[in-house]
Amino acid sequence: MSDLVQIEHVIKHYGMNKIIFQDLNLNIVSGKIIGLLGPNGSGKTTLIKLLSGLLSPAQGTILIDGKAIGPETKAVVSYLPERTYFNESLKVRNLVNMFKDFYADFDEERAYKMMSLLNIDPEIVLKKLSKGNKEKVQLIMVMSRRAKLYLLDEPIAGVDPAARDYILNTILTNYDPNASIILSTHLIYDIENILDEIIFLKNGEIVCHKDADELRAEKGMSVDEIFREVFRC
C-alpha cells in the first residue's frame, strides 16, 4: 500500500520554550483507521492541525498524497476539529451549499440522508440546535465528503454513550475503504474495536506505532489496558 501521509523530521514549537515536536517522523498508508492516542498535551491536536494545514512546521516536510500542504491537500483532507466551528447564524442548508461549493468531493445526497435519519431539519438555524446535534451536523458534513484522509479530533468527547455509538457507526459506514482515518481520542475503550493501527504519542514523540491486533497479541492486553500501562502517572 502507498503512503498517504509522509512526515519527515518535523519540528514544531510554540514560542521559544514550548517545544511540541523535536523530530517527528511518521508514515501512514491508505485504507486504515488509525487511533492517535495519548494523554492531554502529548501533541495529538497539534499533529492533526499540521496535517490539516492550520499550523505550519518550523522545519521538516509533510506530504499528503505526495503533495505539500496547501489547497491541493485540503481538497483531499476532511477535518473535524474538537470544537463547534460553523457560523451559528447560518441554516444547516446554507452549510450544505457551502460545502458543495468548496469541496468537489462533497456528497450532498449523503448529507441530507444522514440528516433525515437524525431528524435534523435542514432549514433550522444552527444556534437553535443542541450542542449534541451541532456536533452531529459537523460530523455529517465532514463524513459526507469522499476524502482520502479524514482527521477526526476527539469526535466522541463530550457526547453521551448512545451518541458515541451513532458517531462511530457514522464513521464506519460512511468512509471510503481506500481512505484513511486518523482519530484522536483518550476514550480508547469506546473506539478500540474499530482501529486498525495505533499510534501512542507521549510528549511529542511517537512511542508506539503498530497494528492494533499485533499489539494486543504481543502484550496480551486490550489497547485500553496497554494505554493505561504506557501512560501511568
Binding site: Y14, G15, S52, L54, S56, P71, N87, S89, D101, Y103
Partner: protein, 272 residues
C-alpha cells in the same frame, strides 16, 4: 472559486448588515412620518412633541451607531472567521489565502458603497427634503456647463468618480489596517489582544512618519508638489492627478495590509 467565496461572504455577512441598514431606514421613515404629522396636523400636545424630539435625537445618534455597528461587525466577523473558531473552517477550505482576502475586500467595498448611499439617503428621508441630492447634481451640471470643451466636461465627470473611488479605497485602507493589526497580534502565543493593539499603534506610527516626511518634502522642498509634474493650469486636471495619487497610495496600503494578513494566515496561523 473567487465567485463562490464572494457569494459566501454575502451569505455570512450580508444578513446582519442588511438588518442594520433596513432598521435604520425604517427609523428614518418614522422620523419623516412624525415630522409630517407635526407639520400638517393639529396634534401638538406635549407628549407628541417630546416623542418627536426624542426620535430626532435617537435618529441623530443612530447615524453614528449604524456606521460603527457596520464597521465593528466587519472587524468582529474578520476575527471570528479567520482567527477564532470559524477559522477552523475558513483555513481548511480548498482555496488560496489570497482569494479569501480578495473576496473579503469585495464585500467590504460593497459595504462602504452601501454606507455612502444609505446615510445621506436616510437623512433626506427623515427631513423629507431631497434638495441636497438635486444640489449635488446641479453643481455637477453647472461645472459641465461652464466647461469650454467636451474634454473639460469629461475631466469634471472623471473627478467626481475619482473622488468617490478615493473615499472608498481610503476607507478600505483604514479597515484593513485594523485587520492587519488583528492578524499580527493573533500570530503571538499569548496576549493576542494586547499585541494587536501594539501592532495597530506601530502601524499607525509608521503611517504618521511617512505622512510627515511626505508633507515636509512637499511643503519645504516641493519634491512631491503635483503642480510641478502636471503641465496644466486647469485645476480640474490637477485635482484629477491628485485624486489618482491618493487612490494609488491607498491601494498600495491596502495591498500591504492584505499581504501582512495573508502572510500570518499562511505561515504564522495560531488559532485560539
Amino acid at each position: 472559486m473567487l465567485g463562490k467565496l464572494i457569494k459566501n461572504e454575502f451569505i455570512n455577512r450580508g444578513k446582519r448588515a442588511a438588518s442594520i441598514i433596513i432598521a435604520f431606514l425604517c427609523l428614518s421613515l418614522v422620523v419623516a412620518l412624525m415630522g409630517a404629522i407635526n407639520e400638517y396636523t393639529y396634534i401638538k400636545n406635549d407628549f407628541f412633541r417630546f416623542s418627536y424630539m426624542l426620535i430626532i435625537v435617537i435618529f441623530s445618534i443612530s447615524e453614528v451607531v449604524v456606521v460603527s455597528a457596520l464597521l465593528i461587525g466587519a472587524l468582529q466577523d474578520f476575527g471570528q472567521r479567520f482567527f477564532k473558531d470559524q477559522g477552523y473552517l475558513t483555513h481548511t477550505l480548498q482555496v488560496k489565502v489570497s482569494s479569501l482576502m480578495l473576496a473579503r475586500m469585495v464585500f467590504d467595498l460593497v459595504l462602504f458603497v452601501a454606507i455612502a448611499i444609505i446615510i445621506p439617503l436616510s437623512i433626506c428621508i427623515a427631513v423629507r427634503d431631497f434638495s441636497a441630492v438635486s444640489d449635488l447634481f446641479d453643481s455637477i451640471r453647472f461645472s459641465l456647463e461652464r466647461s469650454d470643451s467636451g474634454l473639460e466636461a469629461s475631466i469634471v465627470i472623471v473627478d467626481v468618480i475619482l473622488t468617490f473611488v478615493a473615499i472608498l479605497i481610503y476607507a478600505l485602507s483604514g479597515l484593513w489596517m485594523f485587520n492587519a493589526s488583528y492578524a499580527i497580534g493573533h500570530a503571538f502565543n499569548n496576549a493576542k489582544r494586547l499585541m494587536s493593539v501594539v501592532a495597530f499603534c506601530v502601524i499607525g506610527i509608521i503611517n504618521w512618519i511617512i505622512t510627515y516626511i511626505v508633507g515636509y518634502l512637499t511643503l519645504e522642498k516641493n519634491i512631491f508638489d503635483i503642480k510641478l509634474f502636471v503641465e496644466s493650469t486647469n485645476d480640474d486636471v490637477v485635482a484629477m492627478v491628485f485624486l489618482i495619487v491618493i487612490i494609488a497610495v491607498s491601494a498600495i496600503s491596502v495591498a500591504i495590509y492584505a499581504f501582512i494578513t495573508s502572510y500570518v494566515c499562511k505561515k504564522r496561523l495560531n488559532l485560539e
